[in-house]
Symmetry: D2
């Protein structure tokens, strides 16, 4: 019992909408479990681009996913649009733990929630590299203090 | 030379926006050629749901893709949002040819364009089944007369 | 520190090979984190089909993923082929916890490892339904006693 | 009527096996039309890597898809394994037209067939760049003379 099902929109700090695609569904007619992680890394990466911490074309570090986790509470079906919410649960020197929740419009409880950990590495050498103070400042409002 | 590169937004009849996802890109940094077809069938299927011709849960026919084609004119990168346009190039009794074009915001010429053919079959037996008159009426404004 | 990096091939009971696909890579040139879950559910579902517990066309229950988790230890690149290993960590009445590890040929330690939980539901009503004794017997050799 | 349905294994020159993945299916229970293109570019790119014409990490040109086409003749279902066949229909100075057919084990006629055109560009500048004589020699046995 992780308590993730009790997550509410107001517990998070960043929000984007992600429309489902037809091919997201699997043979059971609902969105396949794999796709949720694509929504996680889309929400997280878009936020990181908007804050100027990551970018498609260098320079700067890249974020490698070293751990991810998801709990699924309700099915999602095409053509629904998901609201993806993100907060930062741990802002380390070389890594970030993003906490993500996905809500269907009108639902108070999440369809799914989980987390995702990025380690930052140099784009060329793939060696761990620290976040700059500027990076940390750009993300500060997303950090949720541990209880 | 198919002339598809000369396609313009006003040549089409239905429009949706589809945001890119981080995992859409391949090792060359731009969206992989495969993903464009996912945008095609997302635009087409969403239009067909909105017009009441197809639905996720029966009853009614389902559309099986029997042919698809795409020409690629410009790269697309995360986190761009694509405008997908659809028109119907042939409205047959048991099949439809959708013509689709994808534009990047601000561009006059398409990033990619192609077509997609659905044959309609019974959900259970998978035997060809005709579109109803009601279905055809619901799609009539999307049909573009052949030159 | 979950200890998953210490997983070894001999800790698992079922093995399949899964070749990478070109589109599995993301803009960083290695396989995207999302794809690993597709390998997880491919390995698990193929095993369940082979054991006769699940099938594409009914009758019988279907397995819905309610939780998944992955830790990533080494990058995977096209055109490598992954060895996916599965064991069952908990064989409940209405759910199964699969433990999965992915190895690159020649490597002693996993490229990634995690778990995946299926709850079994009736195909039509989507209500939880118990595994039969026959199902449990078909899976018994895959169960690894908890330490 | 393109005649692609008459394609036979012996009309092609290169062959790999590609197992389906669970998530390849869409809500209709069979593999989604989009996935076939992933099989096309997997077969083509693996062949090009084996022949030393393309590589994941430079130096050398990269191949950008400028056109693709597929006709679908029979459904494919998880956990089937596809045999993908490739030949080269046009070996130009700066582009290649690959012709691809996908067969299910035991079937004489293809489940799907189509083509795929690569234009070769410099990895960094993305300007068209010619195939070397060495590249062309490495592919010569795959070229099928036009009728």
């Amino acid at each position: 019992m992780s308590g993730l099902k009790q997550a509410r929109r107001e517990d998070y700090r960043y929000r984007i909408e992600i429309p489902t695609r037809w091919a997201d569904a699997d043979a059971y007619g609902h969105v396949n479990n794999v796709i949720y992680y694509s929504w996680f890394d889309t929400a997280v990466t878009r936020m990181m681009y908007e804050r100027g911490v990551l970018s498609l074309h260098g320079p700067g570090a890249i974020g490698l996913c070293v751990e991810s986790h998801c709990e699924y509470f309700a099915p999602v079906e095409f053509p629904q649009t998901i609201e993806a919410f993100v907060r930062i649960g741990r802002l380390g020197d070389k890594s970030l733990r993003y906490e993500v929740a996905l809500f269907l419009p009108g639902d108070e409880t999440p369809a799914a929630a989980g987390h995702f950990v990025h380690v930052f590495v140099d784009r060329a050498t793939r060696k761990p590299t620290p976040l700059t103070l500027e990076n940390k400042a750009a993300l500060a409002d997303l950090v949720v203090a541990a209880a």
